[in-house]
């Protein structure tokens, strides 16, 4: 046999035998375990085993309080002035022309020229609990847990159209193509339960978010980090169900055959990717069980179902809230709910703040509160951050598009409200202030980057250090901005 042939025929087994003789076992073990080689060698079986998957849990920068996030995204932008911002002065001057100094040189999405009029809120407020949060009568349930949440009154964004603003909230940039919040989380921390996707998206409301799938896409991060939509109709995760006529026994047989053939190939070509693929097929098989198990809420108590107000078989926010709890309970890192329909311009009666807004509140109030309560009862609230809010606020000005006379508000990026709870965030805090009519922030402004930096901080991530090198530079969720809000971090 020539040396050429010898090389050709050399197998991993014989190589390591020879190496083993020469070096002794201790040295050999340390060599084999070197991750620099890109894989681990199991000494017993003498074949490469897969690398830790891209979603395997990773250590945070420091010990964080929270493990997961549930982000209740109110797409369409709820009116802060009718829900969280009582403004007696705005009510007093309801119908008067908005003072020039506010609107000079402003760009609005729909208000055009003329002399737009101020619009007070037709809804009453009530003060709650120790925190003294003032919450609209439209959200009676939220009042009952007022002391569990902290309200940020001074959010600001840079975008005033839905799609760019939703992208900005979710990815830190207004043009599609950057990784979303949940993608950064799973990229940075992996996930605790590899039998389920690490970042799950649940949709309800009148349509999908305006920013489309880019709101929860992975941008330039590898696509394993993109948000996986759990669907309310058909199979919950795309392609998770076996086709008709393929029983789980038949599926198992076929997976065994695939595994056996892939293993033979792996021994032949020694490509660690094959071992990874074998592992991913097994994971896929486990997902086929874990996903239906997750979706099966029949074992939930009647009291729980009643508390959320679930509507079986429907695309509903309440169902999604219950699922969100089941997901974080199983170690899913990030769950994002989108509920679209808050765009109350007042261009029709159904879409004004007297009729449309109360209906939207009714759809979410009970369930969102049930989620907090349920997490708390199960001791999960301490390690789960719940975030509620939209992509911008709404104007203190009545839009009156085409001269219609229904009370409605245009898009307003300069001041809006969000609330956060759990995950070690100080409860009961009322943070930031706006002016008399809620037009501008006057105290403690919070940018989208600040909010994201705060959320990351609670998860043990230093937001300036969670980076990905792409097209020549290190990108991060918070771009080159953002400071965690100290007053909210306990």
């Amino acid at each position: 046999m020539t040396e050429q042939e010898l090389l050709q025929h050399i197998t991993r087994r014989t190589l390591f035998k020879k190496v083993g003789y020469g070096l002794g076992n201790v040295a050999l073990a340390s060599l084999m375990a070197d991750p620099a080689l890109g894989f681990f060698v199991d000494q017993q079986k003498k074949k490469p085993t897969p690398k830790p998957g891209p979603l395997s849990p990773k250590a945070p920068h420091f010990k964080g309080k929270a493990k997961s996030v549930i982000y209740l995204f109110m797409a369409g932008a709820p009116s802060q002035l009718d829900l969280f911002e009582p403004k007696p002065i705005l009510n007093k001057f309801d119908g008067d022309v908005c003072p020039e100094e506010y609107i000079k040189g402003e760009r609005f999405a729909f208000i055009r020229g003329g002399k737009p009029k101020l619009l007070g809120s037709p809804h009453a407020y009530k003060q709650y609990g120790q925190s003294g949060h003032q919450i609209s009568a439209l959200l009676p349930h939220l009042g009952t847990i007022a002391d569990d949440i902290s309200i940020i009154h001074s959010m600001k964004t840079e975008q005033f159209n839905h799609a760019p603003a939703q992208l900005f909230m979710n990815t830190g940039f207004q043009i599609p193509g950057r990784p979303s919040f949940g993608s950064w989380l799973t990229y940075g921390l992996g996930t605790e339960n590899t039998d389920l996707p690490g970042f799950v998206v649940l949709l309800s409301g009148i349509s999908n978010p305006d920013g489309g799938k880019s709101c929860y896409g992975s941008g330039f991060l590898p696509s394993v980090y993109q948000g996986v939509e759990f669907r309310s109709q058909g199979e919950p995760v795309l392609f998770v169900d076996n086709p008709d006529g393929v029983s789980s026994e038949v599926r198992r047989d076929s997976l065994d055959a695939i595994r056996d053939l892939n293993t033979m190939r792996s021994k032949e070509v020694l490509d660690p990717e094959i071992e990874t693929r074998i592992a991913q097929y097994e994971l896929a098989y486990r997902m086929q069980t874990s996903v239906p198990d997750l979706m099966d809420i029949s074992k939930e108590s009647e009291a729980t179902k009643e508390m959320y107000g679930i509507e079986p078989g429907k695309k509903s926010f309440a169902n999604n809230c219950l699922l969100a709890r089941r997901l974080v309970e199983r170690g899913v890192r990030c769950v994002q709910l989108y509920h679209r329909g808050w765009d109350h311009h007042g261009d029709s009666e159904a879409n004004d703040i007297k009729h449309g807004l109360p209906e939207m509140c009714r759809q979410i109030d009970k369930a969102a509160v049930a989620l907090i309560t349920d997490l708390k009862q199960r001791g999960l609230l301490d390690e789960t951050i719940v975030v509620w809010g939209g992509e911008f606020g709404r104007t203190p000005i009545n839009e009156q598009r085409n001269g219609v006379n229904f009370p409605g508000r245009d898009h307003h990026p300069k001041a809006y409200t969000m609330w956060v709870a759990g995950g070690g965030i100080k409860p009961g805090v009322s943070y930031g202030k706006t002016d008399d009519i809620g037009y501008n922030v006057v105290e403690n402004p919070v940018t989208v980057h600040d909010l994201n930096a705060t959320l990351l901080h609670q998860l043990g991530i230093e937001h300036t250090k969670l980076t990905y090198h792409y097209q020549g530079r290190d990108f991060r969720l918070t771009d080159v901005f953002g400071e965690p809000i100290k007053d909210l971090i306990s």
Binding site: F110, P243, S247, A350, Y470
Partner: protein
């Protein structure tokens, strides 16, 4: 240290086994051989530049500016001891040790810097300029004591291999090479027949013949286009919120053609960048400019069009720099580039080049809520299309001629109709007995027979209205939808509705309609479907949501009776689009449809003197509102539709055009890159660090395009050959294909890269020549099986001592399944297609566009033709790292995830392929022949005995289970055997080897 000695040990042992001839180690370089650019700069990059680089460098020390460093006084050439630079690194003089806050520099690295200073702190001939900004030169072909290789590529690769104590792998087997070549050059695996033809070709140059054959295949262009479409961010929709469909496929087809014709890369680039600015551009050259029309376009209400346009121009600058310069110029949008020598001015000089685009305005931002700047669209006429239009027009003309004669032939009916047209059509409102909702809505019936719905508003609904009919022959029914302030006609939040079906029974007998008319119908809806009973469309009213509307349906025959039941169905994809207020009435008039046109009809019918125009209008009305007229009208309308279809059916292309200009193009530098902060004006131009344009003309798109491919620019050719290289080996010679700057990875083999780049330009940018050179190299033809030694020394195959092996890209996986199962429809070009995709993927606000799954062979087209909707890309492509085409993507990351497994196992598109493959295998006669065929169709090689055994066992298991559960088998296939074979097909399509190019 312990580790490195171990490593050394293994290395020696490996060498001892395999290649004793290469044992000599490279002599260590003498101390005075320290190179500034190769030794010192990398240390700066790794340890210093994170603080000491760019304009805002710490302490004002910018280590990327070598001239400044030399002037700074920190370095005393010849005397490291006295150089502050060294003293700070050592932490002397009581000052903090550099790099501050990080680990101290390793002693070897410090020694290098000290030696560099000691021997004069010389800057090498390139002055420390980053390699990528220096023009490539052809290095001498390396000589080696080892005889190996087929062309120059191999000499360069071998040099690297030997330098890393590696040796070439043997040539891969003939079948492996055939598969590799087919996949690389056409994107499709060989069919079993193609494979056999090649294996049975005894010619010594069989391989070269195959190369020629595949380079000439039209599928070659498709394969190259796949990669180019990622750069061109090609999609079939506009992106953002509405994400409405655009017609852009002619551009895609242009790219395929250009590759197939082997258009030289310089021409290929110029036509795409500025085909419109060439003298007398051909339609093809205009279509080519679709490259930059692929930018996204935000049509959301309330968007500032100037800002939207600003984003478009930025996208074009970024894409140009990524595609041709491999540079990250977008970093310089907001500030001077931190690491590379691009200033913010450079960015806006390029911005100016693209800022002169012509567009028309649609809407008015100041007074309404939407204004969009629409760039030119070109109708592209082909001779065939023009002939078809002429033919259809001739037919229509003869029908128009017949029209008058038709009225004369039906003089009696026409006369009767004219009398009725002068009157109001009498509708009566029968008593409403009951109204029911299938979805649980409740109704009230008002005094004027107005029916109002309330309570729950289900996603879909069906109303049943029971009526007491008046006496006489009923010829039509009318549905009125009145609106009053605050009381919309539709129940959805937009106040629109979609009526998808209307039924009528009289005394229990179903009554057919023959015509429908409404006073207003939403664009894209067809009320004729209410007559045919097809629920796919119907009656909707956007944007006239707040106005009164009415719909009249004419019964096919007069009908009389006592009780009637009218059914109104709402079964569209639009949830809750049910009618909220309506009134039902009936008429005994012979011409019920006149109600819809009554004002116009009365005016015309009562006109005392008919002039030709009135006459004509009257005829038209007669045709559209009388039974006899309708019969004729159907044909007439069909003829009109034919003409319209042929005319609008002319495909359009998105093209670029510049506004006329005499002077220099300029643009303001925007502070921090923000739209609202324009500042100082700069002239259009190219980045300062690169050689200037030599034409002396004012810079514009055409000049820029010519400059990109003038052969002097150090980047363009390298960037393109690097991309081509990556297609074959899975990794560019510069791994960061998108970044040739200082932050990118250094070329693994710069001599090779530069050789290929220079040759590319010398050979007049001949793209196929580069492909041919690569695939005929010995490097390419190596076996990809890793030896254990090679795997240890070079786990990721940087030095190419073995052939490439990596998972296919998304589209190739689809194409492979289609080819292996013989389902593939090999048609080339044309509108994008919609193969199977699960329901509910498309659901964008403000757009009713739906995925219309192709039921014919269109569903088996190749991946590049699959309709690309930016906000909802084809899901199985996304699982396999496809791009969203929102922005230019140079490099796809390859992941390995369980969602990929689920897609291949369960996606109906792959299941169909499994069925077809199963059927093919079953036809082979014996189990063994079937299995061998299937294995070869998917992996292109014969299975080993063991592999065959696994497959046979699997087949037996499937068969046994399906015979035990025939009902299950029926769900999957024709019978038990068919189902079992389908599952074997499913196994084969899921093998790692099937989706891997190895």
């Amino acid at each position: 240290m312990r580790f490195s000695s171990l490593w050394f040990g293994v290395g020696l042992l490996g060498l001892g086994l395999a290649v004793p001839a290469y044992q000599q180690t490279k002599p260590a370089p003498p101390l005075n051989w320290v190179s500034y650019s190769k030794d010192v700069v990398p240390i700066f990059k790794a340890a210093c530049n994170s603080c000491h680089a760019g304009k805002n460098a710490a302490a004002g020390l910018d280590l990327t500016d070598v001239a400044a460093l030399m002037k700074s006084g920190l370095i005393k050439a010849g005397d490291p001891e006295k150089s502050v630079f060294v003293r700070r690194i050592k932490g002397l003089d009581g000052l903090p040790q550099m790099p501050k806050g990080f680990k101290p520099l390793e002693p070897e690295k410090l020694a290098l810097i000290e030696n560099w200073i000691k021997y004069g702190a010389k800057i090498d001939q390139n002055g420390g300029k980053h390699w990528a900004y220096i023009a490539p030169v052809k290095a001498a072909i390396p000589k080696s004591p080892v005889v190996w290789g087929r062309n120059e590529i191999d000499a360069f690769v071998l040099e690297k291999m030997l330098g890393h104590k590696l040796k070439p792998s043997p040539e891969a087997s003939k079948e492996v090479l055939a598969r590799r070549l087919y996949l690389d050059l056409t994107g499709l695996p060989p069919t079993v027949a193609e494979l056999d033809a090649y294996l049975n070709d005894p010619a010594p140059n069989a391989y070269e013949k195959l190369v020629d054959q595949l380079l000439a295949s039209p599928h070659y262009g498709e394969r190259q286009t796949r990669m180019w479409l990622d750069l061109a961010r090609y999609a079939d929709t506009n992106g953002y919120e509405a994400d409405i469909t655009r017609t852009a496929y002619l551009y895609r087809d242009w790219v395929i053609n250009a590759f197939n014709k082997n258009m030289p890369y310089d021409q290929f680039s110029i036509e795409q960048m500025a085909g419109d600015m060439l003298p007398n551009p051909t339609p093809d050259q205009l279509v080519a400019t679709g490259f930059h029309r692929n930018s996204m376009f935000n049509q959301e209400g309330g968007v500032d069009p100037a800002e939207s346009f600003y984003n478009t121009v930025i996208d074009r600058v970024t894409t140009t720099s990524s595609t041709w310069l491999g540079s990250t110029l977008q970093c310089a949008r907001c500030h001077d580039h931190k690491f590379d020598p691009f200033s913010q001015k450079d960015f806006f000089k390029l911005f100016a080049v693209f800022s002169n685009v012509s567009y028309r305005k649609e809407g008015d931002y100041k007074t309404t809520f939407s204004e969009h700047w629409i760039e030119p669209v070109l109708k592209v006429s082909t001779p065939d299309a023009m002939n078809a239009i002429a033919e259809a027009k001739a037919k229509l003309a003869s029908m128009e001629e017949r029209k008058k004669a038709f009225a004369a032939e039906n003089a009696r009916d026409f006369a009767k109709w004219k009398i009725e047209a002068g009157l109001t059509v009498q509708f009566v409102e029968p008593k409403v007995e009951s109204v029911k909702s299938a979805g649980g809505a409740t109704f009230t019936v008002g005094t004027t027979n107005l029916i109002e719905a309330s309570g729950t508003n289900p996603d879909t609904d069906e109303y049943q209205v029971a009526l007491d009919l008046p006496e006489g022959d009923i010829n039509g029914i009318r549905i009125e939808v009145p609106t009053d302030p605050g009381k919309p006609g539709g129940r959805s939040s937009s106040q629109n509705f979609v009526l998808t079906n209307v039924g009528l029974t009289v005394d229990g007998v179903k009554v057919a309609f023959n015509a429908a008319q409404a006073d207003f119908v939403q664009d894209g809806y067809d009320i004729k479907k209410l007559v045919s009973g097809d629920r796919s469309s119907g009656w909707a009213i956007y944007p006239q949501n707040t106005m009164n509307h009415r719909l009249v349906l004419q019964t096919a025959k007069p009908v009389s009776g006592k009780k009637a039941m009218v059914t109104l169905g709402f079964h569209s994809v639009w949830a809750g689009h049910n009618i909220g207020r309506f009134r039902v009435s009936v008429t005994t008039s012979d011409y019920p449809l006149l109600d819809i046109v009554r004002d116009n009809a009365q005016k015309l019918a009562t006109q005392p003197v008919f002039n030709e125009d009135f006459d004509n209008q009257l005829h038209n009305l007669y045709l559209s509102t009388s039974v006899k007229g309708l019969e004729f009208g159907v044909d007439l309308e069909a003829a009109k539709r034919e003409v319209a279809m042929r005319e609008t059916g002319l495909p359009t292309a998105l093209v670029m055009a510049d506004k006329p200009t005499t002077g220099k193009l300029t643009a303001p530098v925007h502070h921090r890159g923000e739209f609202l902060s324009p500042g100082e004006l700069v002239d259009a131009g190219t980045p300062d660090v690169l050689p200037k344009s030599e034409t002396g003309n004012n810079m514009n798109r055409l000049e820029l395009a010519k400059w990109l491919v003038n052969g002097k620019n150090p980047l363009t050719a390298r960037v393109e050959v690097n991309r081509i290289w990556e297609q074959y080996f899975g990794r560019g010679i510069v791994e960061t294909m998108d970044d040739f700057g200082t932050q990118g990875s250094a070329p693994v083999n710069q001599k090779l890269l530069d050789y290929l780049a220079v040759r590319f330009v010398e050979k007049k940018w001949d793209i196929k020549a580069i492909h041919r050179m690569i695939v005929t190299s010995a490097t390419y033809r190596q076996s990809s099986n890793a030896s254990a030694t090679a795997l240890n020394i070079d786990p990721t195959n940087l030095y190419l001592a073995r052939g490439p092996r990596f998972r296919m890209e998304a589209e190739m996986i689809r194409d492979t399944a289609l080819q292996a199962s013989s389902l593939l429809n090999p048609e080339i070009g044309g509108p994008s297609v919609m193969p199977f995709q699960p329901k509910g993927i498309w659901d964008s606000p403000y757009s009713g566009e739906q995925w219309m799954e192709a039921k014919d062979k269109g569903r088996y087209r190749r991946g590049i033709y699959v309709f690309a909707k930016r906000t909802a890309m084809y899901p199985s492509f996304m699982s396999f790292d496809g791009t969203t085409r929102e922005t230019c993507t140079v490099r796809r990351i390859r992941t390995n995830s369980p969602l990929q497994a689920l897609a291949l196992l369960n996606d109906n598109a792959y299941l169909e392929a499994a069925k077809a493959l199963g059927a093919k295998m079953m036809q082979r006669g014996s189990l063994e022949q079937g299995l061998v065929y299937g294995f070869r169709a998917t992996t292109s090689r014969k299975p080993s005995h063991d592999e065959l055994a696994v497959l046979a066992k699997a087949y037996a298991q499937f068969r046994q289970k399906y015979f035990a559960h025939p009902d299950e088998a029926k769900k999957l296939g024709k019978d038990e055997r068919d189902a079992a074979w389908t599952m074997v097909g499913n196994v084969l399509l899921n093998l790692d080897e099937t989706i891997t190019k190895g």
